[in-house]
């Protein structure tokens, strides 16, 4: 909470972004104490990792300082106080924290907890709810992520010319020669990060993890590489058209699983019919759609980072030319 107040006060955007990262990490540990290990996992990799990175890139492009606000903050404060007061008044009717008989615990929750082991056969209930009971929702969310990737591409993609590339590479070389130790250390770390991403991906049935987290961690490994070795080197390793294709393929895998289960006589995303044994079918279905989710999330995150970084390099190159 103190961090949030500090974010409000500080004018230097770099500090604000760093504090936002710390805030993400703190809220992740908060989720662990509330038993939401999967959520904490996601928040730690997203809130403290990727989002900080993207904001830093944006700050690098747009400048660090914030102007003093011209209008009076008292009105805003008043509005906030009134809203907060009303909300607190509203909480007096809420069930107490941690109580077992709260309305939330009495609808579909018990069914997920009691029956998911027999029906799905996956120990991690979060995974079975995410991928099977509410598979349709998750499909929609994957599509939203895919759409956001397209949006960022549409807004920030740069038409690259060969002469631009050489100018950019010159900047990169001058920038990256300094970080020799970092480069050596990171080079040894990256295989482990990617391996860990695969572990998270395929172990999501049994422990915390799954496609969303694995995708973000995988993308973080690639982004780390791109940051230290320069974007043009990273682009040579991972071709952007390929990544764009992959992001679409992930959604396609997800949808196809649904269609195949329809062709096998079930309803959309009903994995029980994928195999003779319903439990095995569920396992297969969850594995496949988690794969689709992971592929889409990883490639969209890489696309987003490439677009952001590419934009900032493009501007640097333009500035370099005009000087």
């Amino acid at each position: 909470m103190g961090i949030a107040v500090a974010i409000n006060q500080i004018k230097d955007m770099f500090a604000v972004v760093m504090l936002a990262g710390i805030y993400g990490l703190v809220s992740a540990s908060f989720f662990v104490t509330l038993d939401a290990v999967d959520v904490a996992f996601t928040e730690a990799s997203v809130g403290a990792g990727i989002s900080t990175l993207l904001m830093l890139t944006t700050v690098a492009i747009t400048g660090r300082t914030e102007h003093e606000a011209s209008h009076k903050p008292m009105l805003a404060l008043f509005v906030v106080m009134v809203t907060g007061g009303l909300l607190i008044y509203g909480t007096f009717d809420m069930p107490y924290f941690g109580s077992v008989d709260a309305p939330v615990q009495n609808h579909v929750g018990p069914r997920y907890i009691l029956d998911s082991m027999q029906e799905i056969g996956v120990p991690n209930m979060v995974t079975s709810v995410l991928a099977s009971y509410r598979g349709f929702d998750t499909f929609g969310e994957v599509t939203v992520i895919f759409t956001a990737g397209i949006g960022v591409l549409a807004l920030l993609s740069v038409v690259r010319r060969p002469e631009d590339d050489t100018a950019i590479e010159a900047i990169n070389d001058s920038m990256h020669e300094k970080h020799l130790i970092l480069r050596v250390v990171i080079k040894t770390l990256i295989p482990f990060i990617l391996l860990y991403a695969f572990y998270v991906q395929f172990h999501g049935d049994f422990g915390p993890g799954g496609g969303f987290q694995a995708g973000v961690i995988f993308a973080a490994g690639i982004i780390l590489y791109a940051m230290l070795f320069g974007l043009s080197v990273a682009r040579r390793v991972i071709k952007q058209p390929l990544v764009q294709l992959l992001s679409a393929i992930g959604v396609l895998i997800y949808g196809s699983v649904g269609v195949v289960s329809m062709l096998n006589g079930g309803s959309f995303l009903d994995y029980g019919v994928l195999s003779a044994d319903p439990i095995a079918g569920q396992h297969l279905g969850i594995l496949l759609i988690e794969l689709g989710v992971g592929v889409t999330v990883a490639s969209v995150m890489i696309i987003i980072f490439f677009s952001f970084a590419g934009r900032s390099e493009y501007q640097q190159a333009k500035k370099g030319k005009s000087l």
Partner: protein, 129 residues
């Protein structure tokens, strides 16, 4: 006293939410607005997760001999919401970059002022008398 202990999680959520809300409406800087939006968002996440918490329960991963688990449903909703949140944040930041390129500033008031000026100029051109 039991009321304070029973409801403090909602109050933390509300305070966080209001800080985020204040940052959104009181600051002109667009990146800061996005950070404020993120704080607001996280407070909603905490709200959902704390609703699913059961006193004495454990993380919802099935294990022999454990009977009391926290509710997995809010976890699922929030897990996907976080990833969708980062995607939309990225989109917002991308828009901010384009605004910076178009206007040379990302301060809301300055952009408004430029827009008003452009509008005035247009009005003058359309009415030559």
């Amino acid at each position: 006293m039991s009321m304070i202990l029973g409801l403090y999680n909602y109050w933390i959520v509300i305070v966080l939410m209001m800080i985020g809300f204040y940052i959104i409406i009181a600051h002109g800087h667009l990146i800061k607005k996005i950070v404020g939006l993120n704080i607001f968002q996280t407070s909603v996440f905490i709200f959902y997760i704390s609703l699913g918490k059961v006193e004495g329960g454990t993380a919802p991963i099935w294990q022999e001999g454990i009977l009391l688990y926290s509710n997995p449903l809010p976890h699922v909703l929030i897990l996907t919401a976080i990833v969708v949140g980062i995607a939309t944040t990225a989109l917002g930041l991308a828009l901010t970059i384009r605004l910076k390129e178009a206007y040379g500033t990302i301060d809301e008031d300055e952009i408004q002022a430029m827009d008003n000026q452009a509008m005035d100029n247009q009005d003058k051109e359309s009415k030559p008398c």
